[in-house]
Symmetry: C2
């Protein structure tokens, strides 16, 4: 549960979602990522930490450059949760449809009697 908390918390900020969108097209260095956001570096690094803590983003230092990459399996976890809840909701709607249909049929049958 705690892990899903962190994943959804990561997604609840526009800057972090923009970083995810950027990394979806391929790995990038911290400085490349930071350049696109008009934000002081320490604030930007806080967002990167949140993304790493939720394991949505992973980073590795190569020489003097820290490269970041997306771990899409973590987004998949969030997606699965949403899909599951929507499928429960939709099967409930299907059952309601079915119920209304049965009522309508009964109405017709009684009408013909």
């Amino acid at each position: 549960m705690a892990h899903l908390d962190r994943v959804f918390h990561s997604l609840s900020d526009g800057t972090r979602r923009a970083v995810i969108a950027q990394l979806a097209s391929g790995p990038a260095s911290i400085s490349d990522l930071a350049q696109r956001h008009r934000m002081a570096l320490p604030s930007f690094m806080k967002h990167m930490r949140v993304l790493e803590e939720s394991e949505i983003v992973t980073s590795r230092k190569t020489g003097r450059i820290r490269m970041c990459a997306l771990r899409p399996d973590m987004l998949a976890t969030a997606q699965s949760w949403l899909e599951h809840e929507r499928s429960i909701w939709e099967s409930r709607l299907d059952r309601l449809d079915c119920f209304v249909e049965t009522l309508a049929k009964e109405e017709t049958t009684h009408g013909h009697e």
Copy 2:
């Protein structure tokens, strides 16, 4: 953007996700929902406010009972965002596959020369 912030923030807490899961099976009263959570009512009501602010949950007072229902279109917004990012990621992987295949073919062709 601010709306997605609120939707994902709503989803970042276990109690709120449990309420969503409960409402996916059908509307429920505030007291029904609160009963399932071992939590002081004021704390529980804070969670309900977060869910209503993000428009994931809607509520209506009928007499003395406040009934809550899910608005699954708000979950759909979050799901769409995740799907979009994953599709970008996956098309990137497809392009990489394609590139590796082309390299392999060129290798074979040069090998035969």
